[in-house]
Amino acid sequence: MENKNGKAFLYLLPAILFLGCFMVYPLIDVFVYSMEEGYNFASQTYFSVGTYNFSYVLHDPYFLQAVKNTFLMVVITVPISTGIALLISLALSSIGPLQKLFQTIYFLPYVTNTLAVGLVFMILFKKTAYTDGLVNLILKWFGASSVDFIDGPYWAKMFVLCFYIIWVVMPFKILLLTSALASVNRNYYNAARVDGTSPFRIFYKITLPMISPTCFYLIITGFIGAFKEYSDAVALFGTDLNAAEMNTIVGYVYDMLYGDSGGYPSYASAAAILLFVIILTITCINLMVSKKHVYY
């Protein structure tokens, strides 16, 4: 028995070492940093240990802005992207011909480079000296006044960002949902049809419960992904997100480390710990809800 355990640990060793170096140690280190007050990066010294860093971050208007942005994004993008993905997958799985073609088309954004996507969004939304952007052109046709989506009002920027995120995360959701739909045994539908079940009731009473594990997986990972949002905001609004009022929590952490106003690993660590707590709480709530509603 002893010998067997030793062997098992030997096999586990590479993974344990790797995870220890790059996951566990940094995590502990972040926690340590976040408690060291007045840490000086150059001299590697600090004054005392306490919660000042947290209190600083929580009173920083930039951080509060980032938290507000992040929550707005999460609340908007996760339900909308999952909902639309579900509708598209349902449509995809009920059409016969051209299904493969449409599946490929819907999956394309997933394999497209983020910067290329950013470029397309620039063409769609950005105002330049020469053009107002495609969307504004269309808005003008309908008689609306043009809006600066990239440097304009807050809601316009938030709209573009959410639109962007939804568009980027959708393919993966569609992929998982179509395969989940395809794995539902056809006999359930046959049985329901013989009993004269209406299509809506079939969806609500049979399809949805059957694919509920996939749905909740997508919602949970969607929440986590949206809370960690950063790169898409950069692709749209550039690196100075604070100035654009479009910063996210991860963006704030990055700025505190490396940005123009950076060099504060303690503040960055405190913000990172706060984000961790937020995600942990939300995920726990998600799991608790899913226990009630997910079958199997």
Binding site: N187, Y188, N190, A191, V194, S198, K205, P209, M210
Partner: protein
């Protein structure tokens, strides 16, 4: 309610690369199922029996032909308006609903004047549950039930709306041997109690023979023979039906008829009248052999299997078309296992002769 199938035909588009051509799954199937009978559709997989079942229940549209329930033409009716109950092969019980909710499900779909109150639904569901004897399991989820219990739930769900016709698709194929025996008797009992015209599909001839009032043997979409199980067994129209029915399988030999004598190998084994001289395929049911010291048919003994009630003698012969010849004889007949040869006389009624090419039966001649 009697069910009449008239020239029922189903063609599918063939799935080859060119996308042309058709596969005929069911070919001009005509049959009348008398009211209140249990009919078994029997055949090897891919013979079109499930397709026929799905056409009767309305999940598939026939390419040609009509279906009547009583006097009503139901060919163009959707399944929910036909009044059928279906038990699917893997039961298709909704895994997220309890047994009671599963049974109630069809009732909840009723609309308009048929709409039931919650209490009425529950009462009807419990009634169906009692019929299949699962009334103490109604709070469980399907995954907490054994295969046999799931089967009962599926039957209860199919019966809860009191259908005119009950259809079962391979109802026993997911059960182990003992449960299968028990469940098929159960199906028979429920069918008798409710008097609902029932069609079930199976590839297991024993299953079909044991509980059906009538069986329909199919092959490649074409009905080979219909009739009472025993009649079809004793009186198969062709080699396929003869081979398909009966365990152990019918023994087949290469033989020929010469001057009114049936020859297997060089031995004249039986006098057959009215058959022209020709080579043919000889089928002998396992129970058609009689152990006899000076019997005309001699076989090379391989082994003797004692099965209590009777003895199975396994032997070989150069003329045999199967690897071994299996004969079943009464256990009373003591057998000398030391012998290398074993000699049999044949029961004339258990010997069937088939045409070598067409595989139609040529002896005994059709009764008509």
């Amino acid at each position: 309610m009697k069910v009449v199938l008239q020239d029922l035909t189903k063609k599918f588009k063939s799935r080859d690369k060119k996308g042309k051509g058709e596969v005929v799954a069911v070919d001009h199937f005509s049959f009348e199922i008398p009211d209140g009978e249990l009919v078994g559709l029997l055949g090897p997989s891919g013979c079109g029996k499930s397709t026929t079942l799905f056409m009767i229940c309305g999940l598939q549209k026939p390419t040609e032909g009509r279906i009547f329930f009583g006097e009503d033409d139901v060919t163009d009716l959707p399944p929910e308006n036909r009044g059928v109950g279906v038990v699917f092969q893997n039961y298709a019980l909704y895994p997220h609903l309890s047994v009671l909710q599963n049974i109630t499900f069809p009732l909840e779909n009723l609309k308009g004047k048929d709409k039931l109150t919650k209490d009425e639904m529950k009462e009807k569901a419990m009634e169906a549950a009692r019929l299949v004897q699962i009334e103490n399991l109604t709070d469980r989820k399907p995954s907490e039930l054994s295969g046999g219990q799931q089967q009962r739930v599926a039957i209860a769900r199919a019966l809860v709306k009191m259908p005119k016709v009950l259809l079962l698709d391979e109802p026993l194929s997911n059960l182990d041997a003992r449960l299968r025996l028990q469940t098929r008797e159960e199906i028979r009992r429920i069918q008798k109690e409710t008097g609902i015209t029932t069609v079930f599909v199976t590839h297991d001839q024993e299953e079909a023979m044991s509980i059906s009032d009538r069986i329909v043997v199919m092959k490649d979409g074409v009905v080979q023979q219909t009739g009472k199980p025993q009649e079809v067994y004793e009186d198969p129209v062709n080699l396929f039906v003869a081979r398909f029915l009966g365990t152990p399988q019918i023994n087949l030999f290469e033989g020929r008829v010469e001057k009114g004598q049936l020859l297997i190998g060089e031995e004249a084994v039986l006098a057959v009248r009215g058959v022209e001289d020709q080579p043919l395929t000889v089928g002998i049911r396992p129970e058609g052999f009689l152990l006899k010291e000076d019997g005309p048919l001699s076989l090379d003994l391989v082994r003797v299997e004692v099965m209590g009630r009777d003895i199975s003698v396994v032997s070989t012969s150069a003329a045999s078309l199967n690897p071994t010849v299996r004969s079943i004889i009464d256990a009373e007949m003591r057998l000398q296992v030391t012998e290398e040869k074993v000699r049999f006389a044949l029961r004339p009624s258990k010997v069937l002769l088939f045409h070598k090419e067409t595989e139609e039966r040529i002896y005994p001649e059709e009764a008509e």
